[in-house]
């Protein structure tokens, strides 16, 4: 008996869902297309806006100017993401990196390993033009590698100044400038640049520009970056005390590189993923704040739209609810019809919004590329699809009490007597 009752209940619920969706479909295509389109469109636009803003935040989080490299594996301290060029907040660093990178380098399957240190350093030309540049310290080898979007090709192989940890070897003084940094400094190949940080006093070490390199993918076009030998940067910044670096990059076969990196740094995060990880949003203050505000505003606006339009729809629809009551639908079934209609409309809006959002991100990139900021300023991610649906459903759930309240206030006799 209970099985029969359960089956009947399931059939009833399936019927209610079918009734609600059929009604909605017929209204959208035949009877009241305008109202349904307005609700769906409002949800879609809100979701699209949310995705565009989140895409921009994701690009902020993942697109630090120094994050572009061609390594197979990146070892970063736990609880730290890539260092963002936007807020420049310094996170935890790895220690004894020169030594451990050498150990990783000696493993089979590993082509090369290099610690990478990122410091903001003021570079000054002989003419007195000075600007702050993100200087990236790296240990190059014979092969040209890309670090921070710049090629190591113009740097002498190895790191002679390191001298087995004594930091008294000969300085090469070589420096590769990004095109943007060169433009800001007005420097070109062969120019001398003086580097000063809080630690260097009057004896600011000088570097010679060996190359001006275009960015690897244009993403760092608005951030001045320079590439130097690691130990020379460590000496400038004070990183030589603990052989500090922000991360270690490992080139070679991914599996071997990963296990070598994990052995050398058992407590650090070893990432071989080369895409932008949405989790980076949580590591970057500005990006996280941007996406969180977008979420809050998105849910609020979306819920307001849905509540208003569905409330108006239900208000016009009181007679239908009265008919449902007359043919024996109890209150919970009538409210279920309203709730299902609201949530299905919201869901359709969300799916449309995902499409619009992805198109919006492409449009933002196109507009930015054509005007102020060449390169990717917003990134779409597959996780945006479930994200948009969950946000829309959340908005629908926030909104649903209002149409339900309107529906619950319907008096059947007033409606059927009209």
């Amino acid at each position: 008996m209970s099985g029969d009752g359960g089956g009947r209940r399931r059939t009833r619920w399936a019927g209610l869902v079918g009734l609600s969706t059929t009604r909605l479909w017929k209204r959208a295509t035949r009877t009241t297309a305008g109202r349904v389109a307005a609700t769906t469109g409002a949800v879609a636009l809100t979701i699209a806006l949310l995705l565009v803003v989140t895409g921009i935040a994701l690009a902020l989080a993942g697109g630090g100017a120094v994050a572009t490299d061609d390594a197979a594996v990146r070892v970063a301290p736990e609880e730290s993401g890539t260092l963002s060029a936007v807020d420049g907040v310094e996170g935890p660093r790895l220690g004894a990196t020169n030594e451990r990178a050498a150990a990783i380098r000696s493993r089979a399957g590993v082509e090369h390993a290099s610690p990478v240190l990122v410091e903001t350093v003021q570079l000054e030309t002989a003419d007195g033009d000075a600007t702050h540049v993100l200087v990236v310290g790296v240990v190059p080898d014979e092969q040209p590698r890309t670090v921070a979007g710049l090629s190591t090709d113009s740097l002498e192989s190895g790191d002679p100044h390191y001298a087995e940890g004594s930091y008294d070897g000969p300085r090469t003084g070589e420096l590769v400038l990004s095109r943007d940094a060169a433009e800001r400094l007005g420097a070109s190949t062969g120019d001398e640049l003086a580097a000063s940080s809080v630690r260097t006093g009057d004896d600011a070490p000088s570097f010679t520009v060996t190359a001006v390199d275009a960015a690897a993918d244009g993403r760092d076009a608005d951030v001045p970056v320079a590439l130097v030998h690691l130990s020379e940067l460590q000496s400038v910044s004070g990183g030589d005390d603990g052989e500090l670096a922000d991360w270690v990059l490992v080139w070679g076969e991914a599996g071997a590189a990963e296990s070598a990196a994990a052995d050398a740094y058992p407590d650090a995060a070893v990432a071989s993923e080369r895409g932008v990880d949405p989790a980076a949003l949580f590591d970057d203050g500005l990006a996280f704040a941007t996406s969180a505000i977008a979420l809050l505003v998105g849910v609020t606006i979306c819920a307001s739209f849905v509540a208003t339009t569905m409330g108006m729809t239900v208000d016009e629809d009181r007679r239908t609810l009265a008919v449902l009551e007359a043919v024996g639908f109890p209150t919970h079934s009538r409210l279920a019809v309203v709730a299902i209609s609201t949530l299905v409309t919201t869901l359709c809006g969300a799916l449309l919004g995902v499409g619009l959002g992805v198109a919006g991100i492409a449009a933002v990139n196109a507009v930015a590329g054509a005007t102020v900021a060449p390169g990717t300023v917003a990134i779409a991610h597959p996780l945006f699809v479930p994200y948009a649906i969950v946000v829309a459903l959340l908005s629908g759930l926030v909104a649903v009490p209002y149409p339900l309240a309107v529906a619950a206030r319907t008096t059947i006799l007033e409606e059927v007597s009209r």
């Binding site: 209940r9 059939t11 019927g15 079918g18 009734l19 017929k26 007679r319 043919v327």
Partner: protein, 278 residues
Amino acid sequence: MGDEKVDRNNGSSRRPLDRVESVRMIHRSLRNTFSSTAGATDGDDSTAAVRLADVTHEYGSSGRRFRSSGERSVTALRGVSFEVRAGDVVGLSGPSGSGKSTILHAVAGLLVPTDGTVELLGTDVTALSDRERARLRRRHVGIVFQRFHLLPSLSARANVALPLVQAGIPRSRRRERATTLLEQVGLGDRVTHLPGELSGGECQRVAIARALATDPDVIVADEPTGELDTATGADVLEVLTDVGRDRAVLVASHDAATLAVADRVVSLRDGAVVDDER
């Protein structure tokens, strides 16, 4: 077991007599389906399908919480008593405001009178909760409104099948049942039409088919021909009385032609029965 009979009763090309017989078989099978879970006692020949005993109703005297104290109440029914047996077509006559619709609403459980009892198949409707009344209405009462009250965004078939959704009948059987009923009221070629694509008479026939969907014991019709011209109204009444055989039918109207189909007419004035012509 009876459910299987429903599946075998289909086909629009058979002779009318066959069709009527098949509809009766469906009725019997549905009656079996519903009676197994019905809360009310099924009426037998000796029991009235509907019994009103000393029913009084005042609008504005109950219900809403925030009603202002200065609002006046209107007495719609005063000590109304009568009964309707299965197979009877009873007309309710009287001028506007005489209480005809209020009686129908009370019988259908859409309102609870302030005093007196309304029995439907032996169950006192006034003692039930909202949910129980909705269930009783779904199983035992079919309502036909003056203005049809079809859902504009559902096809004729989906409108007829509406009460079966809440009854938990599977989709295929809902469709089959609705199609058969539409054929029975002469709308076999209009099953997928929306109400906006049907004439007034056709809409009312769809409404009658909907009222029959759960094979109810009682049908209440409030001015069923009020929106129709004379000829269409006559057609609709023929359908209503034809399908209403073996059921208790209550028809409220102030149209003499409509009341002429009734076996008996209860006349009302100012909420009270002034004549119960047998």
